[in-house]
């Protein structure tokens, strides 16, 4: 179920599965349109509450991800973003993920990446991904699990 709220020009998109939507009381899309028309204040309050719940409810991971976007230092090696901007250098391989937004100057994907590490490496990473997937399912972190599933599918 996709829900888009526009308040003062600010767009909030929510994507919920059927179970989550029901759990949050959003079980009938038609009734939502009805509620938006006839009870705009109440509807706005409900959606705001839902957005807050989802932001908090999905745990620190989402917050961390938000923080990552504006990080000025790599949390792994303490390399400052400012130094990258000045020198074009990174502190460690993880900086590439942390400062990914800054990396749009690089070549178009796939242009010069060379041969991928060997099949053996892929097997290792497949095992590692499968392990991570089981762990994510066990702790009911379905967002991460979905990402891991997609990665595994790509490897397959």
């Amino acid at each position: 179920m996709l829900l888009t709220q526009i308040v003062n020009g600010q767009v909030t998109d929510l994507a919920l599965c059927e179970t989550c939507a029901r759990a949050k009381g959003l079980f009938d899309p038609q009734s939502l349109t009805f509620a938006e028309k006839f009870f705009p204040e109440e509807f706005k309050a409900k959606v705001d509450k839902l957005v807050r719940e989802l932001a908090g409810g999905q745990g620190e991971k989402k917050e961390e991800k938000k923080k990552t976007d504006v990080l000025t230092k790599c949390p792994v090696c303490d390399f400052p973003l400012e130094t990258y901007r000045k020198t074009g250098r990174m502190g460690c391989p993880d900086c590439y993920t942390v400062f990914s937004r800054e990396l749009d100057i690089l070549a178009a994907p796939g242009e010069n990446q060379g041969p991928r590490p060997t099949e053996e490496k892929e097997d290792q990473s497949r095992c590692s991904l499968e392990k991570q997937l089981h762990e994510a399912i066990a702790r009911e972190d379905y967002e991460t699990a979905a990402q891991l599933r997609d990665k595994l599918n790509k490897l397959n």
Binding site: R89, P109, T118
Partner: protein, 370 residues
């Protein structure tokens, strides 16, 4: 096995010892392969402990590469300032590694045509050298090494950017190519700047080989590809080979043009050079670089004759570039004074005078009568 400089210096690296295809213009070629370990900080930002940890992981990998089981090896802390300078002159370490200490290593194979540096700008950097134009075989060799390394170590690789490097612009397949060119024709006709601008437009760079002694002393230039945006190594290889082919052709055209249109000036330069070899007593290194360049040009234009053949003279000139370099000379002659160094250099160069003679056109030049 640690580096024993007394025996190490007896053998010359291939750039200086051999001659290869198109060596009248293309003096040598080099490929650089780089790899970094996953989860380890890049050397420029790392601590001594981290560098040591990286070295511990990579030394067994290096030793497993063919030709490196018994390769000479040194940690940078073991090398004195002079020894570092020697390796720098031989292009067997980079200035970056020369400035490094703990956890930084260099391995040199027996042929001295390949070196592997640990914790230089990247965790692992391998350089493969060859005389003349041998880009293709260099790339093939480096790819074999890369396969071995990738199998044994956890390499930092990103699906989007390729092999990750400390310089973001150098990500990709981790191979860069270099070519050393002798371009006196371009230099004498003031074509270097124009050439440089044209090459930049084709994602290639040109810079002086001996920049520390002034741009046009040796007329040797390094042609190298700009990183990633110019494409994969195969593209760059094809691109560079085509450009090198055109450059060689154009350089020969320019040399012939000078010879045809300004014979007097050219013969004056070569005659003076020959005279200095016969009667000179002292020679500085920059002057020697210039002299070697003129001799190479004269040989190519057949202004000089060599009893032992052109290729053997080219080899001798390449040898001298290294043997008469300041640190090599100081090391082999047990630290002579600067003046004695110049005398020794001139003595070495006089060996060239014994091997060559001016051709008839130059030796029988007639002067206008008054």
């Amino acid at each position: 096995m640690s580096i024993r400089f007394s025996s190490h210096l007896k053998q010359l690296p291939p750039w200086f010892d051999n001659h290869g295809p198109e060596d009248g213009v293309i003096v040598g070629t080099m490929g650089r392969l780089v790899r970094n370990l996953k989860g380890e900080v890049f050397p420029g930002w790392s601590t001594a402990e981290s560098r040591k940890r990286v070295a511990e992981k990579l030394i067994p990998v290096v030793r497993s590469i063919p030709g490196f089981k018994q390769a000479t090896h040194a940690e940078m802390t073991e090398l004195s300032k002079e020894e570092r300078k020697l390796l720098l002159e031989r292009k067997q370490i980079t200035p970056c590694l020369a400035a490094r200490q703990d956890g930084c290593h260099v391995f040199i194979n027996k042929k001295q045509d390949t070196i592997i540096m640990l914790n230089e700008e990247e965790h692992l950097a391998a350089h493969h050298f060859a005389a003349g134009n041998k880009l293709k075989s260099i790339v093939t060799d480096l790819r074999k090494k890369a396969q071995l390394i990738d199998k044994q170590a956890e390499i930092a690789y990103n699906k989007e950017y390729g092999y990750l490097t400390s310089m973001t612009a150098e990500c990709g397949d981790g191979i860069q190519l270099y070519m050393v060119l002798h371009l006196p024709g371009h230099a004498m006709l003031n074509q270097i700047d124009k050439l440089e601008r044209a090459l930049n437009k084709m994602h290639l760079n040109l810079s002086p080989f001996y920049s520390e002694y002034g741009e046009e002393t040796s007329n040797l230039y390094v042609l190298f590809s700009t990183p990633t945006p110019s494409g994969s190594t195969d593209d760059i290889l094809g691109h560079m080979s085509n450009i090198a082919e055109n450059l060689v052709e154009k350089e020969h055209l320019l040399r012939n043009k000078i010879s045809a249109e300004d014979f007097l000036h050219l013969s004056d330069i070569i005659g003076r050079t020959y005279g200095m070899l016969l009667y000179g007593r002292m020679m500085g290194y920059p002057e020697m670089l210039y002299t070697v360049s003129q001799l190479r040009l004269a040989l190519n234009l057949e202004f000089l004759e060599c009893e032992r053949g052109e290729s053997s003279l080219l080899t001798l000139l390449n040898n001298l570039l290294l043997m008469a370099a300041p640190t090599h000379l100081a090391y082999t002659a047990e630290e002579p004074s600067p003046q004695l160094q110049k005398v020794l250099r001139m003595h070495l160069m006089s060996r060239v005078a014994n091997a060559i003679s001016l051709n008839d056109d130059l030796s029988q030049i007639s002067f206008p009568k008054e």
